[in-house]
């Protein structure tokens, strides 16, 4: 609504300038994602050592030609563990995102589209789950279910699904009130078909963008739990586990903690950057609402 004012006051050059910066960070983000993809696909080939091979004789070695990033307290090669860790860390996050997305679309979408009693009850359940601080709920779920990869995935899904259901519901409501849905209804399309063919595609496109933005956040939660020793359990090569392993040696071998943290940081940054760009590109209206 203030578009005219903004255009009048903001000089044109700012947009050009912003685009220049955008490209620089975007290139970095895409390069990081490319490296990650490579690590995930070709981990066994790229990793110079077996990530789980214990060699006490060569423990806590500083970086050398043989071990480019040194070795950890059990003599395992840090670089190899980082490369293999990409699979576990990103795999867990990918699974979580997929599950949360499916649950969110199924529950939120149907609830919004059906409306009435179903909608009211579902939204009250969502409200309850949204009342918890997310990380506290995730911790509680891990406490109840137990640690380990599967339980961490379940815990994070259970503590995040309500946010997605809520957003998908509001997207569905706005989509269902569009004229083309009315047109389809007038043309005699069944409710099920209207939902599947006319409402859902638009909703999914928007929620996918939001999910990309959220991947970094999920990753921080997963690694935060691993770091507390509540997540994926050792000796799995996973970044959060590696940080937790390295805690004791922060005084003697500080680089041990630096590498996995850097890996998490760069990955989260790359996903955030790409998510931002996708949002701006695909949906300027949504961008305005979320920001």
């Amino acid at each position: 609504m203030n578009d005219n004012c903004n255009e009048a006051i903001l000089p044109l050059e700012t947009t050009v300038h912003a685009a220049g910066k955008r490209n620089w960070t975007m290139t970095l983000a895409l390069s990081i994602l490319a490296v990650l993809a490579l690590a995930i696909i070709a981990a066994p080939v790229l990793a110079p050592f077996d990530p789980d091979a214990v060699d006490i004789a060569s423990r806590l070695l500083p970086p050398s030609q043989n071990h480019l990033l040194g070795t950890d307290h059990l003599g395992r090669d840090v670089l190899s563990r980082l490369i293999h860790g990409a699979r576990v860390s990103l795999g867990a996050v990918a699974l979580i995102s997929l599950l949360v997305l499916v649950l969110g679309v199924a529950i939120g979408g149907l609830s919004g589209f059906i409306g009435g009693k179903v909608d009211q009850i579902t939204m009250r359940i969502c409200d309850v789950f949204l009342t918890f601080p997310t990380f506290v709920l995730a911790m509680f779920m891990v406490g109840v279910l137990g640690t380990g990869m599967t339980n961490v995935v379940i815990a994070i899904v259970l503590s995040h699904w309500a946010w997605y259901a809520r957003i998908v519901r509001s997207l569905t409501l706005s989509m269902a009130s569009r004229d083309f849905v009315l047109a389809a209804r007038v043309a005699g399309a069944g409710e099920f078909r209207i939902f599947g063919e006319h409402v859902l595609p638009g909703v999914i496109a928007q929620i996918l963008v939001l999910t990309t933005l959220d991947i970094g956040h999920m990753m921080l939660h997963v690694s935060g739990l691993s770091f507390l020793g509540l997540g994926i359990s050792p000796p799995t090569a996973e970044w959060g586990v590696m940080i937790n392993d390295a805690r004791e040696f922060v005084w003697t071998q500080p680089t041990l903690i630096a590498w996995p943290g850097l890996a998490i940081f760069l990955t989260v940054m790359a996903f955030n950057r790409v998510g931002d760009a996708l949002r701006d590109r695909l949906d300027p209206v949504l961008a305005a609402e979320v920001c």
Binding site: C5, N6, T14, H17, V128, M139, F140, I257
Partner: protein, 316 residues
């Protein structure tokens, strides 16, 4: 304002009931049999007789809804039972550790506001100049930085290399600095970015142009016409990031050996000390809900439109 507040408080009751139901049911649906864990932590071999006795002792032999109601009734009287491990009263233990957590979280919250507001204003005033670029770059990094890793980096630089700050424990202000910064960094980054955006939007409004045309000074325009509008989204965002702030505090406590409820919870999870875990989850959620209530009230106080919409004041 009074009616608005009452309405908000009335909403809390069903919410907290739902929360307690989730906490209770998840524990029963979860993997463990509390009786087995109780026996294990009491170092009693789990024979059939012992299990039956433990179930009777813990009240697990009663119907589920009776168990729930009695647990809820006790919880309302701040009786969360005895810890399976220490045998001490769970609520007393929680309250013993809580002040340290509230202190750390509170300082981090104040730090977030105290840093992000000036940074956001600074960036917006110098849009696309150097200050703006610095703030945007730091914010861009800040939203992706894992808080626990930042904590270690701070220890590395300020304790190990420079030797300026104590690496862990409690004591004077020097002990609080690093944990508080590690917790506050991400919220600060998000808030500064948000405030910058909402400042820029508020600057583009017509009433700001009009204030300038009336000949008001730049400082006065910023303070009275831009900032007041721009601060509203910050209040909302502060509420949204409160959950992250709580989560961050719980994690960071474990790095800096901060004697708060985060460490209590982690050891309860390790030991499967269910009464402690239940008490922790329920009361942390309650504190979170109360903070959100405070923020909503602040919001209504800042923005008369909300009070009016709730029917509390007569429309002019």
């Amino acid at each position: 304002m009074g009616r608005y507040l009452l309405g908000r408080i009335a909403l809390l009751v069903p919410m907290m009931l739902g929360v307690s139901l989730v906490i209770f049911l998840m524990l029963r649906l979860g993997r463990g049999d509390p009786a087995l864990d109780w026996l294990r932590l009491s170092q009693i071999p789990p024979t059939d007789v012992a299990i039956a006795e433990a179930r009777a002792y813990l009240g697990l032999d009663r119907p589920l809804f009776v168990q729930y109601l009695s647990w809820l009734w006790d919880a309302l009287h701040l009786d969360f039972g005895k810890s399976y491990v220490t045998r001490r009263d769970v609520f007393e233990e929680f309250v013993y550790y809580l002040p340290a957590t509230l202190q750390l979280g509170g300082i981090a919250f104040v730090l977030t506001l105290g840093l992000s507001i000036p940074l956001g204003i600074w960036a917006a005033k110098f849009r696309d100049k150097l200050p703006d670029q610095i703030v945007r770059f730091v914010a861009f990094l800040g939203v992706s930085l894992p808080n626990f890793w930042l904590g270690f980096l701070l220890v590395l630089v300020f304790s190990i290399w420079l030797g300026w700050l104590p690496p862990f424990g409690t004591g004077g202000m020097a002990h609080v600095v690093m944990p508080a910064v590690a917790i506050a960094f991400m919220s600060t980054a998000i808030n500064a970015r948000l405030l910058r955006a909402s400042m820029l939007e508020a600057m583009g409004q017509r009433h700001v142009l009009y204030a300038r045309l009336r000949g008001l000074g730049e400082a006065s325009v910023t303070r009275r016409h831009v900032l007041r509008n721009a601060l509203l989204p910050i209040v909302t965002a502060a509420g949204m990031h409160l959950g992250e702030l709580i989560g961050g505090t719980l994690v960071i406590e474990n790095i800096f050996a901060w004697p708060g409820v985060g460490r209590l919870a982690v050891s309860a999870i390790y030991n499967r000390d269910y009464p402690v875990l239940q008490c922790f989850t329920l009361l942390m959620t309650f504190i979170f809900v109360l903070c959100n209530l405070g923020i909503d009230v602040l919001y209504a106080w800042l923005d008369p439109r909300i009070r009016i919409a709730s029917g509390d004041e007569v429309r002019p």
